[in-house]
Symmetry: C2
Subunit: 111 residues, 2 copies
């Protein structure tokens, strides 16, 4: 995969498609393509590393746990979201008609 917007799945997929664009000490970059997927009911991501995501095509709704309760945000093209390590989050929905293209960055939490 050499271009972020090429080789996009055209049909609904059983699962999200994840391509690692770069994997170096200190940073992993992924392209994630969703075609209507959402996190299973009750499932929350809880990751030891920091994450930052941006939606480059399509749209999504993500719920993030905060000290003041859960907050659901809508992400359209160009919108980004910081997900610090162990910030629990889940994908509520992604657009099904047009594949939703995410760029996701992961970097280690500093002890």
């Amino acid at each position: 995969m050499t271009n972020l917007f090429r080789d996009l799945p055209v049909a609904p997929l059983a699962a999200e498609s994840i391509d690692t664009l770069l994997d170096r000490p200190g940073l992993r970059i992924e392209r994630i393509v969703s075609t209507g997927q959402a996190s299973p009911p009750g499932f929350w991501y809880d990751q030891p590393q920091h994450e930052w995501v941006v939606v480059l095509q399509g749209e999504a709704r993500v719920t993030v746990e905060t000290p003041n309760g859960a907050r659901t945000v809508h992400l359209a093209r160009g919108d980004s979201l910081e997900l610090p390590a162990h910030c629990r989050h889940r994908v509520e929905a992604t657009q099904a008609e047009l594949p939703t293209v995410w760029l996701a960055l992961h970097w280690p939490a500093v002890a």
Copy 2:
């Protein structure tokens, strides 16, 4: 600046516009908007940290020094380029009609 594609400069700018989207230990994320700018003749970037760039709108030509000589690459929408620490590089040209939007990631070189 809350959305990558919003608040784009409409007129040619004297210099590139750089917005820091995230600045954390281990990662800095910038949005760079070019409106026809190029590196000055003879100027080369030579940075102590690693960099990865992707063009999200517009297009650009970048020259990278390699052990086998200089190599110029054309970057269109969705194309990315890894620039390891101290890999000398320069921007030869960016599209002038449509602002060129870059996402640039910088992370520390591990000693």
